[in-house]
């Protein structure tokens, strides 16, 4: 049994230590908000936060995150009240939606480090997240909008 800290909860899993965190979350712990897209750190669909940094869970082995703070889309807020989620809803960012958990986690990590990113900073922080539906223009606009919401009071 391995003990993990996910979204503030302590959870136990019988997954072997060399299992990628993505599958521990999705399959062993039943948290399917984090998505599988490529398995090779190429698409960003599986992005979670490990100690506040955007991390591709598909290439992150369970053994390497023991004792660290893991945050997934399920832990962003209880009620979609996180400023990034609010901005995403305001702009109706998702289409098929499959990449969006990863996009939102990458955007949130960016805003934690840089509360007012420029377009170029957004581009470079988000370059690892593919969206096949091409929602990029709205993602960029929503990150700016979330930055505004954070500035005017919402916590990131």
């Amino acid at each position: 049994m391995t003990t993990l800290k996910v979204n503030g909860h302590t959870l136990e899993t019988d997954a072997t230590p060399d299992t990628p965190l993505l599958w521990v979350l999705r399959d062993h712990l039943g948290m399917t908000g984090t998505k599988f897209g490529c398995g090779k750190s190429l698409c960003g669909a599986c992005t979670v936060h490990v100690d506040g940094s955007a991390t591709r869970s598909c290439v992150t082995l369970l053994s390497t995150v023991v004792g660290k703070d893991i945050r997934t889309i399920e832990g962003l807020s209880q009620d979609r009240s996180h400023p990034v989620q609010r901005a995403w809803m305001e702009l109706d960012v998702p289409q098929c939606g499959y990449c969006q958990s990863g996009q939102i986690m990458s955007a949130t990590a960016l805003l934690l480090q840089n509360p007012a990113p420029t377009d170029a900073e957004i581009d470079s922080a988000m370059a690892g997240n593919i969206c096949r539906c091409g929602t990029y223009p709205r993602i960029r606009a929503a990150i700016h909008r979330a930055a505004e919401l954070i500035k005017t009071g919402g916590a990131a």
Binding site: D27, G37, D92, C96, M126
Partner: protein, 721 residues
Amino acid sequence: MSARPTGPGGDLPAMDRRKFLQASALAGGGLIIGISLTGCGRPSDKAATPGVGGQPNAWLRIGGDESITILIDKSEMGQGVYTALPMLIAEELDVPLSAVRVEFAPAGKDYVNTLLGTQITGGSTSVREAWTKLRTAGAQARAMLIGAAADAWKVEASTLKLAGGAVVDAGGKKATFGQLAEAAAKRAPPKDATPKERTTYALIGKPQTRLDTPSKVDGTATYGIDVKLSGMKYAALAQCPTLGGKVRSVDSSAAEKLPGVVKVVTVGSGVAVVADHYWQARVARDALKITWDAGPNAGLSSARILAELKGATGTPQSARKDGDVDAAIKAAKRQVSASYELPLLAHATMEPMNCTADAKADGCDVYVGTQIQQVAQGAVANALGLKPEQVRIHTQMLGGGFGRRLEVDFIPAAAEASKAVGAPVQVIWSREDDMTHDAYRPPAYDVATAAFDGNNGLSAVHLKLTSPSVTARMFPPVVEKNVDPFAVEAAANYLYDVPNVSVEYVRHEIGINVGYWRSVSHSLNCFVVESFMDELAHVAGKDPFEFRRALLDKQPRAKRVLEEVASRAGWGKAADGHHQGIALMEGYGTYVAQVADISMVDGKMKVHKITCAVDCGQMVNPRIVESQITSGIVYGLSAALWGEVTLEDGKVRQTNFDNYRVLRMNDAPELEVHLIESTETPGGIGEPSTAVVAPAVANALFAASGKRVRALPFAAQRGLV
């Protein structure tokens, strides 16, 4: 953190929705209003399944608890049907969109797409097909509710109206939908119910927030890959690396000893390793020792495919013939000819193929993101020896479709594995599985020839298009006697006013399955037609925009979008060092024109901006229209810049997003969309913009460099992108 229910948005337990409908009727809490499709403007289309018309058709359920549930028969793959289709019914019921719940319909003949003849989400038909059908269904429900109140109150129906989910009279007397549902359901659906006048629309044509957005920002939207059933196992599938090959023998002894492995099952599409957890199945798959029978494609390569298309000797089928092209070419003052090559493309939906099945003695439940429910049902029935009606399809959210989920190749393995282990099984393809076992966009080799007369006027255009046919495999009756209509799009409807036009198609199969890919043959033919138009403009010494415009007097909608895009993009006024290219198309009843703005730095092309003008007729939800247009451009630009699937020894060489590159945020150009107000019948919006971007960029590249790229992708030109 418990298992999620499997309904869309996680709001419904996993059960057959048809049963659910019947059950709720019996429970007395809520009643379905059966809507007859008779007189709904169903096209007298021979493709439509006979016997459907006149059957009560459950599109709408009004509960005693005032809930309004709308069943949608189309799959939600990002194109917005989960919002747009309910809008059509909510409009007729005079309720806000927030008052309705949405459920996916089961597989069934009630939900046959009347434009395409089977239950299918494709061909940019979602709104086009539903437009009259669902508004009429809503109008019938309105008449039935009003009729029920009129009878109860002994007044004329004409004195009553709907407001806020109730029938009201002028004096403020009111009965809610829930109170009236039972009486309304006993009435025959009126045949003459007429949908509301356009001028009275409260919802249609106004931007509405998508109903599926909340579940897509908190991770609760349930895609096929998220389905969890009690006792469910996971499987990884090994498929023959050579397309079309088969298993000869399997040594699974090493794999079976690995932790968690339940069983190794040979299925129709390969070898499935079933384990308690997915990663265990993936690890164990690598321990299989399989001898493959490579089959007929063992020696197939991209070079051979292209050579075959070039040398194809099949009889050309005519798709369009105006005047006498041969005579015009003979009499020509000047002749121009060019040939174009288009590659195989992968769909690369964000959610890799997957399917969950629960095979039991009396049937099988299948949980899957599919665009083609009845065919999926048939494929599982076939694999398990069941009757189609014993297979229950539970459509999930689709993490992208783009035509990939019109194929059912990834579906039966889950059912076969489930039957073999006696438990529900979810089969998940890796990205590599998905990339190397797609039904790829057909490649093409096309020759265009044109003639100018003595007055420098375009007198003839001849297009000879050679490619394999998707339709011949998917819907064989369609091509029995006729040219494949889905191979000659954006060509047979040649827009420009030229006296002699001939479009011919040579069907040439290449040994592997090709599939419908977002915008289907538009993506092939628009590149040819619009690149060639640009070549002709230069030969004629005319501006590419003016050259086109002068030939569009008989096509006012096409002319309008062309003028609109030119004026919005500032045609002819590109910034210093920037260059423009223009392209135009009609597809799915929608007119699209684009201007690409690019620059060249050290011989490398950078796409800065795409301006797009669209006339798609009456819009249901402009907000979704705009996002579908930009989505299509990004998808088409990915393909134009980098998209190419190549084969060697019958194996696909591209495996993941490192060697099948797609557009990322930092590559994405600025996108500007201009939607033209229109009262015409709604056109499709999911696909047309995809096809127009490649020629717009190619034409800009010519303007910038004098280099004419006639073979996609641009990346195949060394150093260009």
